[in-house]
Amino acid sequence: MAIQAKDLTKDYKYGFHDEDISVFRTKKGLSPEVVAAISQHKGEPEWMLKFRLKALDHFRKRPMPNWGADLSGIDFDNIYYYVKPVEEQSTSWDDVPESIKRTFDRLGIPEAERKFLAGVSAQYDSEVVYHNIRGDLEKLGVLFSDCDTGLREHEDIFRKYFGTIIPPNDNKFAALNSSVWSGGSFVYVPAGVKVDIPLQAYFRINSDNMGQFERTLIIAEEGSSVHYIEGCTAPNYSTDSLHSAVVELIAHKGAKIRYTTIQNWSDNVYNLVTKRAVAHEGATVEWIDGNLGSKVTMKYPSVYLMGERAHAEVMSAAFAGSGQHQDAGSKAIHVAPNTTSNIVSRSISKGSGRTSYRGHIKVLSKAHGSKVNVRCDALLLDEESRSDTYPYMDIDNPDVTVGHEATVSKVGEDQIFYLTSRGIDEQEATALIVNGFFEPFVKELPMEYAVELNRLLAMSMEGAIG
């Protein structure tokens, strides 16, 4: 068992690198010309080009955020902002080039799809090359495509919502994404439609110094429900990569959206993502957010509770190994009365790894009867590992129930002794404790993700015992 784990971790598991077959890429660095080239290449309408250029302008004016993780290693001039790997987007598996197929095979996409996936939208560099949606979903009127297609084929819906939840001037990295975005998913679920199988997409960065700026927009109409799953892996390169996504969710009256992410970027990636949802009357938004990889992650999935009885659920798990900083957390903004939020965070730091929980709860003056519950637990595996909590709360209404609990603990000597006294070696014992700590998160995941996560954790634990 231990030997097998060792072999798997010799190299970063997903660190394979296929031959670069890009057919179009912009030159390195960022300029209005580069932005215009992207827009022109995609054949976009004028308003999108203007949107992009305005965002670029804001990006340039906006200073780097200095309140969180160390971002000084990012060199914006040394990044390709757009790479298109194939000429045409394939709609059938046969049309996908062999080298890309190999990559997908290693990620297990076709297999997964054969089983029960609703549709697979796999992002290879900046363009979605393979995308398939099951016929019965189409019949229900569910739209599931990459974001570029969403703009091209459903411009009316797209334009109505795009950039309304996270405007380009929200923060520096939202501005960056808004100026160079490409790919990502567009999901539209008509009123009353319940999508009972998860929609899944895989994202990969495959070009050295390639930034990835996907954009996801999900709209759930009244009384509908959908579960979207995004999994991320990236090959392991020696120079730093940047991933900066924007994800916008709109849950209309009584709708339910669950968004599940497991990010496992290789440990040279800056993962700076803005995720935000609005929940209207009686709607529920759930962020299930796992952070295992990357060099630095800054991500705070948020929910604006706009309508009465709207509910936010954020369940996150972070693992920071040596050299990693997971600065993650959540925001819940209670605008309407009787809204509820439940935020549960679990984080583990190993070696020199560092986790930070950064949370913001805001209850506006009209949001009487609202309930807030925040719980964050951190587990430290070594003497040098570190965890911090930055909980901010602004409560402007006295008629609100707020619960907040935070704990930091270490793997106990007695726990290890108990498990090893049954013949289990120390490394596996620690992995068991770690898996157990993440169990409340893992049990929210579909089976194959739960298995994958446990395996990744076991690999991350390799050598955890000094």
Binding site: D414, Q415, Y418, L419, G423, I424, E428, A429, L432
Partner: protein, 257 residues
């Protein structure tokens, strides 16, 4: 009933945080026999259990512990367990998020005793039934929110699934009511025999009515001061420790056994 002693401890001295608890202890538990180790609180009984199992907080400063001829002292707890040693904890630790069934699977695998899934589940069901443990119990997190009695049953269940060569029961009777005690003791007696010896550590003789030990040892101030047959336990039940140990702290002369 076989030749050599399964567990042989000689001249053992052990301390915790610089304080010596075991002060030259000798004990032999031959293969397949049931021995009881008794003694008043603070005599070092639990320290002995932890030291034999290899808890890192207890430091052995002199003497030897051998099991089936193997020197245990250089070995980690997991290596000792894989030789066939099992400790039934007095206060087993909670491991939140890890289910009992997964724990059992992991320990069987670690000891090379893995069973095919179906066989494993059948055996688990049978053992749980014998110990009067509800089926749903196996999906609970180890010792997390268990009552005292549930913890003890869970320990015996692990013992039953692992079938070690020697089980050390550390105050397994404490905190159990009469019925639970009988269930647990019956569970142990089902397993005890030529293939599994037992060292029962207890303060009270009550559990020994069920376990019928081949030998009884009395411990005081870090040493075994008296060894005898099952009648020794009865004497302790009737008269207490004082007549045996003497009024003062000093250990009395060893009675023959």
């Amino acid at each position: 009933m076989s030749d050599g002693a399964a567990l042989e401890i000689a001249g053992l001295r052990a301390s915790i945080e610089g304080k010596e608890i075991l002060k030259g202890l000798d004990i032999r538990v031959p293969q397949g026999e049931v021995h009881a180790l008794m003694g008043p609180n603070g005599s070092g009984k639990s320290t002995l259990a932890y030291t034999v199992m290899g808890h890192p907080r207890y430091q052995v400063t002199a003497g030897s512990i051998a099991f089936d001829g193997d020197d245990l002292l250089p070995l980690t707890p997991d290596a000792r367990a894989r030789l066939g040693l099992f400790l039934c904890f007095q206060y087993p630790t909670a491991i939140p998020g890890v289910t009992l069934v997964n724990f059992l699977r992991a320990m069987l695998r670690a000891q090379g005793k893995e069973l095919p899934a179906r066989e494993f589940l059948n055996r688990l069901s049978a053992e749980m039934k014998a110990l009067k443990i509800e089926e749903s119990f196996r999906s609970r997190y180890i010792n997390d929110g268990f009552s005292g009695g549930e913890k003890k049953r869970s320990e015996i269940l692990q013992l039953a699934m692992l079938r070690p060569k020697l089980a050390i029961l550390d105050e397994t009777d404490s905190g159990l009511d009469v019925d639970a005690l009988r269930t647990v003791a019956d569970g142990v007696m089902q397993l005890a025999g030529p293939d599994m010896g037992v060292l029962v550590i207890t303060h009270y003789p009550r559990i020994l009515d069920h376990l019928r030990p081949d030998a009884v040892h009395v411990m005081h101030d870090g040493q075994v001061v008296l060894s005898g047959g099952a009648d020794l336990a009865q004497r302790i039940e009737k008269d207490g420790y004082e007549p045996i140990l003497g009024a003062g702290d000093r250990a009395p002369a060893l009675a023959g056994s």
